[in-house]
Symmetry: D3
Subunit: 139 residues, 6 copies
């Protein structure tokens, strides 16, 4: 019996994770998982079963809040343009607006510097372009 939202065996956690992954990251997330199939299926399993099945599934922080934290991390880490692509899509999927996303990246500049904020903003430009969301209106 599962007494917490993250209980369950290996297979249950994976299935719960795939459902959350699909809702948050959509097609882009599934492509990453598929691409791992012939090189590191266990990494794919853990991203889904642990990252999405255990962590993302916890109700203590709603999906929109999780993406704000994630945008901050991926922007400041640097070299995570591929993951920013997935998560800027995810941010839009869970209700953040383009205006809020670029504001979050502007805000990040003060904490991790303009180069990292620029790199993330150009990924946002690419994602917004693909989804017909350009130009972004800022006051």
């Amino acid at each position: 019996m599962s007494s917490t939202p993250t209980d369950g065996g290996r297979r249950e956690r994976f299935d719960r994770g795939m459902e959350t992954l699909g809702r948050v990251d959509g097609e882009a997330g599934r492509r990453v998982i598929d691409a791992l199939g012939d090189v590191s299926p266990e990494l794919a399993h853990q991203i889904v079963a642990w990252g999405f099945g255990e962590i993302y599934s916890r109700p203590a922080l709603p999906p929109r809040d999780r993406q704000l934290v994630t945008l901050g991390i991926l922007t400041s880490l640097g070299g995570c343009e591929a993951q920013l692509d997935v998560h800027i899509n995810a941010a839009l999927n869970v209700g953040l607006t383009p205006e809020e996303i670029v504001e979050a990246l502007l805000h990040a500049a003060g904490y991790c510097g303009f180069p990292r904020a620029l790199n993330a903003t150009f990924v946002a430009k690419k994602v917004f372009g693909e989804r017909g969301l350009l130009p972004v209106r800022q006051e």
Copy 2:
């Protein structure tokens, strides 16, 4: 006349920044600014006038959202325990609960690893202890 919220000369931006700084970071933020007085008053000025007077004052992202982004950045940068202390206090000041803060740091673990998440969580423990907020209840 200020046509945007971040217009104004050097002094106006500083005054607006001090007001925002006080509201967000409280006493801890002012102590950092004071400590800079004899070594780099211009760095102190820019943190206040630019960071808080221009960026934090923008309405495009509410204070609670800014702290979620900031927690993500400071956790993943590493070596920013002093700033995490200020901003975990700030996070509480703008309405994030201890439960949400530790969940944000748990969420961060998947993106920047357990060591950084642990360091940030132990800063949170210190701040929560000082404010009488321990133990944190998690389901």
Copy 3:
């Protein structure tokens, strides 16, 4: 029935993780877990149940090899002196000699620079001192 070494429900994974944690990190690891109890018990749970119960328990890489990878990561991340303390102890526990550990940190200097290698080496000095392993003999 567990068909893979990392299957099992929430409790089983935690128990398996505690056993591995004790074997690898010893007392130092348990102290970290205990210290999380009143601030983020779920972070404690995941470090044990996932990090040790799922990842460390996999037979695909022996414990000594895992610590070599970990020393490389913690040295280059920076700001992880607390974790280096635990893992330099762990490295000794799983069979790496002091000579091999300092050689790994010297090797790291070329990849992440002398400052990070120095910080890690001074943690090693502290751990070796506590365990009566100084001076380290290098040819």
Copy 4:
């Protein structure tokens, strides 16, 4: 009346910044600003008005010195190849020679490791090639 070099309203700081940006970063800098126009015009504004209008305009450190600091930062941050491209051009624009630039990157290797120094040096090779400055003579 501006009593310090960085006073002035939003528009004045932007204009002063554009002048400095043009002198330091030249065409490459302006292209970055233009590319931000439809996604984050405020980020573009702040890079110009704050970064160049306030910080770069201060007389306390000459432009050549600022590029030495900047080369150190961008090399060690990693993942900033686009910004290194702009700033290696800037370094040449403000009087650093190719020999000095590659020496700075060699010097950086000891502090942030060979991989970051290599990545920066290959950006320098690209920039030098575009400006007809290859081969670089070193004793």
Copy 5:
């Protein structure tokens, strides 16, 4: 007479380094050295003469162990995909199996996060593909 394995003048260290470089990094390492010839021959010299002639040549840690440390560092640094390409090849050259390499990168995920582990794993996929080593079998 050399009383330590890393003694010798500038030329001797370079020659010893080229021999070690060839054995560890193979053709990929030599291509990096050649590419530096017209921009920073001294950086090329130091990578060979110091990195390989002095550090890699020391017997205190066998080549396989050095690559485990190196994989940990390059994965966690981020933005070192070019160097990971060389060193995943090197890891194979000195006896690590594809299964061990992807396990090391999965292990890294807990210490530096999934994004860095993913980036490194996709470099591994490229290298394994070039050497006819896909698919990797994991239990």
Copy 6:
């Protein structure tokens, strides 16, 4: 006969390095080297013989320029407060003024964010205090 400034055997490079180290880093540098004696004498040797005997001794960049690059790197790396202590002393030793040093750190804020600039500035405050150089005058 040494045809380049960095030629010579193991012992000559070490002696040349100790001379340069003393001139640049002074007593603080020597204390670091001494502290390594019982844990990693080879790391001590390489910092001196390679870092100072080979790299710092090259005439292609004067000592003041090397410290500007180094300040940029150590500020942006983070977690290098001990090394910043040594190198802010070194920066003063080779002719940078306190005003130039704090300006370099203010400049760094735009590239690596305020938290890292703050940490470095507080190390500068400590060093300046020890050398009777407070308060720093900035216009």
